[in-house]
């Protein structure tokens, strides 16, 4: 077990540090913060709502993640395959799980850093009124979990190709399906052709629905389990894709 931990943490550290050796990470952080702020204040009408909560802020997260998270995840494996370093990494004494998990955690913590850096919005809302900080915390936890789920999907698709653009587009497309599954458009359409039980199934896979529950301040075990399972399934799928590539 400690061996596991050592390998995962070695992969994690290298990957995480590598984010900050190029300007890409900083550009990403700035874009994320600027968009999160702009959407909250301009489109979300943060001030006009006259409510001391961060609902306007969190509402946009799924849509923001839709294209920002694939931008993080696209390089996870595609870049290593392109540069050939994947050959080096996978001939080290680490299991595929160690490598997949280490890299994923680096990306997830990076997304977490971006999320933490939105704290001025939290400060603002506390300055303006008395928000339910429990609900705010729940929103942050939910958003972080959702980011992890998007990242796991992106990790899997990044492992499938050496082209980062393809990895990005595929990840965005699949994440789009998972997000859109909860909108009225899709559910309404599904309801017209599918029996109710299947419609419920589609809705139950929607990131939107699960995130909505959490950001209301209700951390239901089922929503946590949902996001964690999505991560588990797609990280497992990542190891399968890598195994498949090994055998060509």
């Amino acid at each position: 077990m400690s061996l596991r931990l050592r390998n995962v943490s070695a992969v994690f550290k290298r990957e995480f540090v590598s984010y900050f050796t190029t300007p890409v990470a900083y550009v990403f952080l700035i874009v994320f913060l600027a968009l999160a702020g702009a959407l909250t204040f301009y489109i979300g009408n943060f001030f006009d709502r006259n409510q001391a909560d961060l609902d306007a802020f969190f509402t946009f997260h799924p849509w923001l993640y839709l294209f920002l998270i694939p931008a993080i995840s696209m390089r996870l494996w595609a870049e290593e395959r392109k540069s050939g370093t994947v050959e080096f990494l996978l001939t080290m004494p680490v299991t595929l799980w160690d490598a997949v998990l280490g890299k994923f955690l680096a990306a997830w913590i990076f997304a977490g850093v971006a999320l933490v850096l939105t704290f001025p919005i939290w400060l603002t809302v506390n300055y303006l009124g008395e928000p339910d900080n429990g609900a705010v915390l729940a929103g942050y936890i939910g958003s972080f979990l959702m980011a992890g789920a998007y990242l796991a999907i992106g990790s899997c698709l990044s492992a499938a190709t050496k082209n980062q653009v393809i990895a990005f587009v595929l990840a965005a497309a699949i994440c789009f399906l998972f997000t859109l599954g909860g909108t009225n458009i899709v559910l309404g359409f599904a309801a017209s052709i599918l029996p109710q039980s299947l419609v419920d199934l589609v809705a139950s896979f929607s990131f939107l629905n699960h995130f909505d529950q959490i950001k209301k301040g209700v951390i239901d075990l089922r929503d946590l389990i949902f996001f964690l399972s999505v991560m588990g399934v797609f990280l497992y799928a990542t190891t399968l894709v890598l195994e498949l590539k090994k055998g060509q």
Partner: protein
């Protein structure tokens, strides 16, 4: 110890490696030779567990690479073809990463890294980002990484490619020094390297092993093995007919600046030819004895279509 048993790899319709079998024991340095695309790198990728074989198996120190990969990889140092590296890191950070993943901490880690850095002579570029290093230095970082944990088995894919002559010499020196304690496979296109450091050579062509033996054995398979070359400005009339009639002589070839006398297999003709030439008092500038060139063997084995049969050469010589 490396055991390769009937290893085969198909890439779609292409059979890159075709039932390759060999064993390398401790103390051996195996030179892996073959033309471009022969399957050398692919075989190495399977031995190191990066690629899964289509069929067959590879074992490192008794551990099957597919079923017990971690144990195998722990005993293995690998320099992949082209030495891919994390170019945004410095050699210092990169080697620390490798040491961490190999399980070395603290003073032990420092000692291991210092030793690898010294062996690969990386001191001057230790803190310079890898993508700003010259090709030879990148390769040396790759080498340092492979040597860091002092592995029992080394698989080095073209380790001296891109190195300057001094470095080539140093790397060969390192390999020679380590050899008695390790099992080493290197691939190379530099045949003098095989002579210099390998205790054994395998030639593969189109995925198949076509020759396996000590460099001396292979040289002996050369057409020019034990051949005698006579350097003369003017070739006396009928010299060729007279030479080909000598005992043990298979054929005569004209070469630039003289004649080459090829022996029948297993015959040693140097003294016969030398005595004959002295008796006739031919104006010979130099008599050169060839031990046989790996390069010739390589060419003859890997491109059999272009082989000039000795008898044809003899006929040609007789006509001239």
């Amino acid at each position: 110890m490396i055991e390769v048993q009937s290893l085969t790899k198909d890439f779609g319709p292409i059979r890159a490696v075709d039932h390759v079998t060999f064993t390398v024991s401790k103390g051996e340095v195996l030179g892996f030779l073959g033309p471009n695309g022969a399957g050398k790198s692919t075989t190495m990728k399977m031995i190191t567990g990066f690629l899964a074989p289509t069929s067959g198996a590879a074992k490192v120190c008794g551990h099957d690479v597919e079923s017990d990969p971690i144990a195998a990889k722990r005993r293995l140092g690998y320099l992949p073809e082209g030495a891919p590296l994390y170019v945004d890191m410095t050699p210092a950070a990169f080697l620390r990463f490798v040491a961490g993943i190999r399980g070395f901490k603290g003073a032990e880690q420092k000692r291991r890294i210092d030793r690898a850095v010294q062996m690969a002579q990386l001191e001057t570029v230790y803190n310079q980002p890898i993508d700003t290093l010259s090709k030879g230095f990148k390769r040396r970082v790759g080498l340092a990484q492979a040597l860091l944990h002092d592995p029992e088995v080394l698989v080095l894919d073209e380790p001296t490619d891109g190195l300057d002559p001094n470095q080539k010499h140093d790397v060969r020196e390192i390999i020679r020094e380590m050899a008695p304690e390790k099992t080493i496979i290197i691939s190379t296109h530099i045949l003098e390297e095989v002579d210099a450091i390998c205790t054994r050579a395998i030639i593969i062509a189109a995925g198949k092993v076509v020759a396996d033996g000590t460099p001396k054995d292979l040289e002996a398979r050369s057409r020019t093995h034990q051949a005698v070359t006579l350097k003369m400005r003017a070739v006396p009339a009928a010299a060729q007919q007279m030479l080909v009639a000598l005992p043990g002589v298979e054929a005569i070839e004209t070469v630039p600046g003289g004649l080459r006398v090829l022996p029948k297999p297993g015959e040693v003709i140097y003294s016969t030819v030398e005595g004959f030439v002295r008796d006739k008092a031919w104006p010979v500038d130099d008599i050169i004895f060839a031990r046989g060139h790996l390069e010739d063997v390589f060419r003859e084995i890997t491109r059999p279509g272009e082989r000039r049969p000795a008898t044809a050469a003899a006929a040609e010589g007789a006509r001239a």
